[in-house]
């Protein structure tokens, strides 16, 4: 069994967990996600505690626009589905289609990030809602910005994988890498579901 994993054409059913290295990555990454849950919980807790401390600055109810948030939600949710499509093609050992769907995921991710930047610029310029305007604004930008940074990191991660492996094709060495990047991308969506519910929707309700 001196088979080169960089050239394996016949992938097993779960290529992401077929090697010891892959299994370790898989396990370690879920461990990391457990930690990320706690990290975001501290940011959510801070936000919930400070969301009414607006001092003289604007409140969430005044500035949040649900139309934009809905659009961002649909874009991110769709990008989650497109990365599921990418993993579907990975399991069928179709490297080109996997790359294509990852590419679509990346484009949607950039659209989301662009809208978020637009949103922040809009708050700062039109409402004078800066990072240090109030405890509420600081908690808001920290929580939502941290999520945005996760999106940016996820994009860089997926793009790097796509470029680095473009000539290698799919194999037992890089299948776990792609799989884990897609888990990360789904996790970003998990966090966003709570952000749009707790920050925007509950902020609008008051």
């Amino acid at each position: 069994m001196a088979e080169d994993v960089l050239k394996s054409g016949n992938l097993p059913e779960n290529p992401e967990r077929a090697t010891l290295e892959g299994r370790n990555k898989f396990m370690g990454f879920w461990f990391f996600l457990g930690g990320e849950v706690v990290l975001f919980a501290s940011l959510f807790g801070t936000y919930l505690a400070l969301r009414n401390s607006t001092v003289d600055g604007p409140t969430g109810q005044e500035i949040f626009g649900l139309g934009l948030v809905f659009l961002m939600t649909v874009i991110l949710l769709t990008s989650s589905l497109t990365s599921v499509y990418a993993m579907y093609h990975m399991k069928n050992n179709d490297f080109k289609k996997m790359q294509l769907w990852l590419g679509i995921t990346v484009l949607l991710g950039f659209a989301f990030l662009g809208l978020e930047i637009y949103e922040f610029v809009h708050y700062v310029n039109d409402y004078g809602f800066g990072f240090s305007t109030s405890a509420f604004s600081t908690a808001f930008y920290t929580l939502v910005g941290f999520h945005g940074a996760h999106v940016a990191f996820g994009l860089l991660w997926i793009i790097s994988l796509m470029i680095r492996n473009r000539k290698r094709g799919l194999n037992l060495y890089n299948a776990p890498k792609f799989y884990i990047a897609s888990l990360y991308w789904h996790f970003i969506d998990v966090v966003w579901v709570f952000i749009f519910t707790v920050v925007y929707l509950m902020g609008k309700v008051g």
Partner: protein
């Protein structure tokens, strides 16, 4: 000869898995449609300005269900061999609930 049956088996296996994957993908698309529906329901409730005492619990439940869909189907936690991932995420959720409770109760007190 042995090689022939072997490769015939291989193609058969491949076709079987392809079909299985297509079935799974269909479920994923249904999951996606339901998540979009939950999102629209949550936004709709807030936009229709239904009473906050009613809206807030409902949208929190909708978010929780949507996240479970994401974890169990999109992130494959429903598939075999995900006992440890589940243990890790639920430990995280446990600590998360404590953190959020502690921080909000301190301020509310």
């Amino acid at each position: 000869m042995a090689d022939n049956t072997n490769s015939a088996n291989q193609t058969q296996k491949k076709q079987f898995y392809k079909k299985k994957h297509r079935e799974q993908m269909k479920h994923q698309v249904i999951t996606f449609a339901m998540m979009i529906a939950f999102t629209m329901l949550a936004f709709g409730l807030v936009m229709a300005e239904v009473d906050a005492m009613f809206t807030v619990p409902i949208i929190l439940v909708l978010a929780a269900v949507q996240v479970l869909f994401q974890l169990y189907y999109f992130m494959h936690m429903a598939e075999e061999g995900h006992e440890w991932p589940a243990a890790m995420i639920y430990s995280g959720v446990f600590a998360a609930v404590l953190t959020i409770l502690a921080l909000t109760i301190i301020v509310w007190w």
